[in-house]
Amino acid sequence: MAVLLEVRNLKKYFKVGAAQLHAVDDINFVLDEGKTLGVVGESGCGKTTLGRVILHLLDLTDGQVIFEGKDCTSPTKKELIEMREDMQIIFQDPYSSLNPRMSVSETIMEPLILQGGMTKIEMRAETLHLMETVGLAQRFENSYPHELDGGRRQRIGIARALALKPKFIVCDEPVSALDVSIQAQIINLLLDLQEERGLAYMFVTHDLSVVKYISDDIMVMYLGQMVEKASSDELFAKPLHPYTKALLSAIPVPNIHNKKKRIIMQGEITSPINPRPGCRFMDRCQYVTPECSEPQVLEEPDSDHFVACCNFSKI
């Protein structure tokens, strides 16, 4: 498989007064065409920022983004326009991500208008086709977002993202605002679209059961840093980082038998403002040793299984 997207040493710092908030700190990954990378972490770990930086919705502080072999780190205006036709985003909140004063068809048609080169009739035909693709009945063409439920709204957002025929879509928690039965419909839709169109996804979520289901690889983030990355099955079968272990054990499983032992972590996520050089998970980790205050190196104990913990082999 050809490499679609490569991210090298990506950093995004925000200025907070005189301090630096390390939202994304030195992230590396490679995503192949048609594959899904799951990005997991708790709120405030920088997973949403990461998606925005890759799409250039936020400027990056340092690092490189390489898309289809081309360096897209600091694109010109023209390059940016071309780039965005290949990279799109689906937002978490189907309520605030749609302009309340634009009808369903207006919203889906907007990217086509901006792209240009189509007649009005062609655009309308394409809009209807997109609506059909995402499972929206034609009768909703002139409805407004507030008249529709969350699932249908999320379908509008997906249609808008598909309009430019992208190769890569950042899915920023696309199902976490939806009910389980609707959530399953949307996940299946995303999987179908991936199959039909060979899309690559970066699937950002805090819901581990969803991410396992949809991803090929999973990256676990903690306070802006990648603490572990492996294939989906491997990560769930053999988590190495103590944070991943705790995270996996914390998922409430809808099963009343074989209850697994839960690792209850101490405390809560600390602040990403001017973090110390050592392991950022230190304060909540039960296996702390003096080496943890040193900067952590990303190791690769198994092929394609990365972990940033100096003690992973001992725990």
Binding site: Q88, N99, M102, L114, L128
Partner: protein, 293 residues
């Protein structure tokens, strides 16, 4: 796709946005009544020479302080001018005061607010601090001062009111833009390559304008009131122009004996201001598509 083009389903007739708003506005009885009252006042102002039984400066000393009669339904003033005719003509000046002054303040205010809200940073800080200083002077005092500097006339009163009301719409516009600017749909628009101009035109303004319309409607009433106030203290319309505030001013010294001379124009001011305020209130609900019913 070409095949699909031929068999394109018919476009359902879209309910226009205007009729949608009207449908919702209709549910608010007070707003509908106000709308009719305002329409009535505007018609009266437009056709004043046709409606008014006499000219506004037609003096008839025989009728000085004449009581209401068939010929003069509201009576006459000291110089025997027909009060009804004067009120009818006065609606022209009063409405002018309201509408033009608000147009001035809204145009300048919206521009200032939009610049501050969209660009942020230093521009924003500078503009906002300037407005703070501006607003530390009581509005009516500012009006009076400006009117006094410019010289008493209707045109200058309009200017004075317009200028003194700039901070309101400016602040509101800035706040609306700030809220809308941060929403995900603006981010989504950027992701599909919408330029700054289009984002402002299609995404920010339509969502930020509703509170503006409401506030503008309500400030028309306010500005009619200020105009009447300026005329009352002699800084607005000058005799013999029958602006409503000026009419009250005329009647000031004789209010005890001939109260009706002040009462009727006062009532007109009150009804006009109330109508604009109630209409603004109704628009607030009607303009928000998210509020059902």
């Amino acid at each position: 796709m070409s095949a699909a083009t031929e068999t394109l389903p018919e476009i359902k007739k879209k309910q226009s946005r205007f009729s949608e708003i009207w449908r919702r506005l209709k549910k608010n009885k007070a707003a509908v009544v106000s709308l009719f009252v305002i329409a009535f006042i505007i018609l009266v102002a437009l056709f004043a020479p046709l409606i008014a039984p006499y000219g506004y400066d037609e003096v008839n000393y025989d009728k000085s302080f004449a009581p209401p009669s068939w010929e003069n339904p509201l009576g006459c003033d000291k110089l025997g001018r027909d009060l009804l005719s004067r009120i009818i003509y006065g609606s022209r000046q009063s409405l002018q005061l309201g509408l033009v002054a608000v147009a001035i303040s809204a145009t300048i205010g919206i521009m200032i607010g939009a610049v501050a809200g969209y660009y942020g940073g230093w521009t924003d800080t500078l503009i906002m601090r300037a407005l703070d200083i501006y607003q530390s002077i009581p509005m009516f005092l500012l009006c009076v001062t400006l009117a006094a500097i410019l010289g008493p006339s209707l045109r200058n009163a309009i200017l004075a009111i317009g200028i003194s009301m700039i901070p309101g719409p400016a602040r509101l516009m800035r706040a609306s833009i700030l809220t809308v600017r941060e929403t995900e749909y603006v981010e989504a628009a950027r992701a599909i390559n919408a330029g700054t101009g289009r984002i402002i035109r299609k995404h920010i303004v339509p969502n930020a304008i509703a509170p503006m319309i409401v506030s503008i409607t309500m400030s028309i009433g306010n500005s009619v009131l200020s105009g009447a106030g300026l005329s009352f203290i002699g800084l607005g319309a000058q005799p013999p122009i029958p602006e409503w505030g000026a009419l009250i001013n005329d009647a000031r010294n004789i209010m005890r004996e001939h109260g009706s001379l002040a009462m009727y124009p006062g009532l007109c001011v009150m009804i006009t201001v109330l109508a604009f305020n109630l209409l603004g209130d109704g628009l607030r609900d009607a303009l928000d598509p998210r509020l059902k019913n």
